[in-house]
Amino acid sequence: MAVMADRIKPFPVIDDDNRDFWEGARRHELIIKRCGDCGFYIHYPKPFCPKCWSENVQPTRVSGRGHVFTFNIVRQQIAPGIPPPYVVALVALEEQEDVRVVANIVECAPETVSIGMPVEVTFQQEDEELTIPQFRPAARAGGAS
């Protein structure tokens, strides 16, 4: 498998705010920062809770379940190393609707994706150092729009 020096596809540059998310993905866990005092999920991660200013912000494992808030079907190459067609979606998480995780919807034909479709997280290994969360149609029924 390739290592970082060979990368052509855009990859996340790790910093102090986002490290927990990407380290979690390597363990196959979807990690979202959450305020330990008021319970608010903070995504994209920042070191303080914007609701109560608490610094007690903890990396928290979430269910990985959610629904497609909106999506596209990319038909033209807009990123190196990522051939179209593919779906980019905003996945609204079950834990907090306004936490929207950007991911591709995988394991289904792009044309079958719809707004409100229930999805669940899965993990895709990119290389020795990088694993990324992705979403696929959920096994269970239900959803929201």
């Binding site: 909106t70 596209n72 079907i73 990123a79 990522i82 980019v88 707004i115 990088l130």
Partner: protein
């Protein structure tokens, strides 16, 4: 409320050459547009003591190139709702007395091929230094406005019921306007069938929903309103100008289509201006993507949200309609000079200088840039 209403006037506008490939740098184009705006205003470089715009270029390089000997105000902004950002900053500088004559510009060039090795390009594309969200989009082929815009276009249609055909009528109408504008890069008429046949970039976003990259720049000269009569052209007053910024900084983490930054921008704008949406004779609303233009029409109160589809799908947005929209042809025809073309066109309309596409008796105009998480708008009126 402290008011800037009617305190600042636009006394000059100018463009650089605008072309698919200009052979000029972003600094060179900015200088050209500033010189042309000063010529339009009948001013010399030494009359200017304020200069600002998006960076790159560096405002100090532009000042040197124009020959401005000294400045008491300048600004280099990194990110804002396109060209209106510079205009809003310039209005506040002149209204507050920080400078007496301000030049504001927006200069932009098509992306040039990078000479960096692929891994460095990949890393740069997803560094969090400026965009904390970039690493979260990068590995998904989503670190590109086409990706965000297409997702939000789908959500917009889902929530409002506006159709692709109705959005397409914006492209068709604007191209008709462009056929009367010598500045426009694209002037050939298109039909709704051409629109529907244009390829998907990222479904539901079609090629003809999008503006297109060009090299170009535009500039505006601002002075206090009490001096506005001393210039060659009829003055145009800034009745109100402000940003709209909501609670989230990016295009993904946003509550819904009915609460985009364009709506926040509109709320204070009308109160400041003393005017109302019914007063608007001509509009220059951001058309980087058709759905943003549609959203601006509703958010500025120029049409009710539940009537938006019929409004943009019919004659209302054409010359002779209720709301002549982007009479230059907009960015969909002039190219992506990032909103400055829309602003300058509204000014030229209020000066009565748009020839064949002139809106007769135009007295009040509105220009807006941006959308999604960040927006800004200006209401102009004839002085």
């Amino acid at each position: 409320m402290i008011s800037h209403r009617d305190k600042v006037a636009v006394v000059g506008v100018g463009f650089s050459r605008v072309a698919r490939s200009s052979g000029m740098t972003v600094t060179g184009l900015a200088i050209e547009s500033c010189i042309n705006a000063l010529r339009d205003a009948g001013l010399k470089a030494e009359d200017v003591n304020g200069l600002g715009g998006a960076s790159p270029p560096n405002a100090m390089d532009v000042a040197e190139g124009v020959g401005i000997p000294q400045m008491s105000w300048y600004c280099n902004f990194a990110y804002g709702p396109a060209a209106v950002t510079g205009l809003i900053e310039g209005v506040s500088a002149v209204a507050s007395g920080m400078c007496d004559t301000a030049l504001v510009y927006r200069s932009i060039v098509r992306p040039r091929p990078s000479k960096l090795p692929p891994v460095a390009q990949a890393a740069m594309a997803s560094s969090a230094a400026m965009w904390p969200e970039a690493p979260f989009r990068a590995p998904y082929g989503a670190n590109n406005i086409l990706s965000w815009a297409s997702m939000w276009m789908r959500r917009f249609m889902h929530e409002t019921g506006v159709t692709q055909e109705q959005l397409g009528n914006i492209s068709v109408t604007l191209r008709k306007h462009a056929s009367m504008n010598e500045r426009a890069v694209m002037r050939d008429l298109i039909t709704i069938d051409d629109y529907l046949a244009s390829r998907f970039i990222a479904e539901p976003l079609r090629l003809l929903d999008c503006d297109f990259p060009v090299d170009g720049a535009g500039a505006v000269v601002l002075v206090p309103a009490e001096r506005a009569r001393d210039f060659p052209h009829p003055p145009v007053l800034v009745a109100a100008a402000n940003f709209g910024v909501g609670p989230r900084p990016n295009w993904e983490q946003w509550d819904d289509m009915r609460n985009q930054a364009s709506k926040y921008a509109a709320e204070r704008l009308w109160a400041m201006s003393g005017l109302s949406p019914g007063d608007v004779d001509v509009a220059g609303l951001y058309d980087g993507f058709t759905y943003l233009t549609a959203l601006w029409i509703a958010d500025l109160g120029l049409c009710k949200l539940d009537e938006l589809g019929d409004f943009i799908g019919g004659d209302s947005i054409g010359l002779g309609g209720k709301l002549p929209l982007n009479t230059s042809g907009g960015q969909l025809s002039e190219g992506r000079i990032h909103g400055i073309g829309l602003i300058n066109e509204v000014v030229l309309q209020l000066r009565g200088q748009c020839g064949q596409r002139q809106v007769q008796g135009a007295e009040v105009g509105v220009a807006s840039n941006g959308g999604g998480p960040l927006a800004g708008a200006v209401i102009f009126r004839r002085g």
